[in-house]
Symmetry: C2
């Protein structure tokens, strides 16, 4: 993800691993489409794309001689709910809207989106530094979905930790849940691990529990789309099953996320809105029908893992070993890391 | 599955749901190939196919003027380990080999395979009668893989219970785990439910845990490939995850199988041989590569669910509510149900 003067450049994640197609988005509508179709995905990356989308619309209005503030607010309205589960999107878009409402010019909105982007990079680095301390030499890890550099503005979350852990000689092998229906694990995580030279193997999602039970996995690492005040984790569907298998097998279950993914306003994970996507994602694969004719499908895209199943929450502001510890971060994290003037910072401390 | 004079006729399950292709198998080699490629699958059906395979080879030898006993024993050797996890195959083939060793003519072997087939049909009926008693009006059930009539000689196991339960107005809806990598749920279970007019929806395997946790499922029903003396269940990979989710959510977890799937010689599920299949099943779908280039995969085809996660074992000889109760069946079941002269019966009471 790159800001190129007056457009947002993005790698189309739906074309990977077959092709590296760069999208150049000029409007909030184009950003909304890219988010809805998961051309850009991963909670942090979606948040940043949303912020840039508000700035883009404001710029376009100015070019046409229209009111940039009204355009920014319309864009924020359009973008904030395109994908409801990850808190990063609505939080980033709301922060941009607040700036616009206060009269920020398009250039100021662009600068703010870039500042969010820069802070995201820094968060990734800090998170990864905290995370690698939990790895042991020879760790065999399992991850789910895709949480690498492609999914964030920077170095990634859970996969970022594993990639850095391999660089430091700690991670011996990574098992990758393929992550049906969209196969982010088989397509994107495998791509990033392969490029980095990390030994890895893809497994069907149903196989993860048994590999954990059989002692093939030392640690499980996942990202998060929204973490509730009580430590519950909304993340890609399939995460709960991993949490249950880890608890049953006494395998550490690690959840890595930037502090922007913590939602202090959400009391418990069960209150998070879970996005249900189109059934065609389950019934088809790569455009080809795989299910019986006339079949219906349910397609919840996320699930909620209760805090009791989490061993550690790894964030840029530190590692919490209990939900209480995590909640204590929320009183201190934001002032320490965000400039007091940032509307985003103001919002994140509520609740 | 039908015996047609001197050949075994089978519906090719790999072609379903797109096409209904009937295979006519003439030799043990053809049967072994059909089992290995999963043209015939499902523990009871694979066992019957193996028995017919031994009889076929004995017939063919007789036609060529060769020794039918030696041919039957060679066929048994070839067939018994084609798929190692389900006990039905080795048990049926061993029973046929014992008959051949005692000098049974080809016609006698055919008659024995047909008798096994007939007993399998009767077992299905009894199992289903026991199973439907556990259903409540309006039950919303979830199942995994495919355990319907296509997978057995007769009425099926877990799916047989759900189909009959729907006929009797008890089952309101069935959720179907798609069952990667081979999608038996999306292809075969969906096909049978659709034909029977049962309301159903396919879900990605990773989504089952969350639907169970969210209260969308009243009961989970699966089949089994091998049940150990202590009640542990080897079944299609993904079953363990369902067992863990059911235990966590206090949802009944029901395992339905004919008594031929109980392996009294196996002390615990962890001792069962788990078949690992080719990684291409995970990396490809319908012949199309879905994973990143160069990706590797692990493909364990089965997993073991410990007895502590099972609510009830539903068999043709009764419903057990504990592993102790199940083991007590093994002392009584065989004499009650098999003619004393059957070598299969003799073998099943050992251990």
């Amino acid at each position: 993800m790159r800001w190129e003067g007056d457009v947002l450049a993005l790698l189309d994640q739906t074309e990977l691993p077959e092709a590296e197609r760069v999208l150049r988005l000029r409007t909030a509508g184009e950003v909304a489409e890219a988010i809805a179709r998961m051309r850009v995905r991963g909670a942090p990356a979606v948040g940043l794309a949303g912020a840039y989308g508000v700035a883009l619309e404001s710029l376009r209005a100015q070019e046409r001689g229209e009111d940039p503030v009204a355009a920014a607010l319309r864009a924020a309205q359009q973008l904030r709910s395109v994908r409801p589960t990850a808190v990063n999107l609505s939080a980033a878009v709301d922060a941009m809207a607040e700036l616009a409402r206060a009269g920020a010019a398009p250039g100021r909105l662009v600068a703010e989106a870039q500042a969010l982007h820069q802070r995201d990079l820094e968060r990734s680095k800090r998170l990864i530094e905290h995370g690698v301390k939990l790895l042991r030499t020879g760790s065999r890890c399992l991850t789910h979905c895709h949480t690498g550099p492609l999914a964030t503005g920077g170095g990634g979350t859970a996969l970022g930790v594993l990639l850095e852990g391999h660089r430091r000689g700690l991670v011996a092998e990574v098992l990758v849940g393929e992550t049906r229906p969209r196969l982010q694990g088989a397509r994107l995580t495998a791509l990033e691990l392969g490029r980095a030279g990390v030994p890895y193997a893809i497994v069907a999602d149903g196989a993860s529990s048994s590999l954990i039970a059989a002692g093939r996995v030392d640690q499980v690492w996942i990202g998060a789309d929204r973490v509730a005040r009580n430590g519950d984790v909304a993340n890609k569907v399939g995460s709960l099953g991993l949490g249950l298998a880890c608890a049953d097998g006494a395998v550490p279950f690690h959840v890595a996320f930037p502090w922007t993914t913590f939602d202090a306003a959400l009391a418990r994970g069960g209150d998070a809105e879970i996005e249900w996507r189109d059934s065609s994602e389950v019934l088809e694969l790569a455009g080809r029908r795989v299910a019986a004719a006339g079949a219906q499908a349910l397609n919840p895209a996320f699930d909620v893992t209760p805090a009791r199943l989490v061993t550690a929450w790894i964030t840029d502001v530190g590692v919490a070993r209990s939900a209480d510890e995590l909640e204590r971060f929320s009183g201190t994290a934001t002032p320490r890391l965000e400039p007091a003037s940032s509307p985003a910072a103001g919002r994140r401390t509520r609740g």
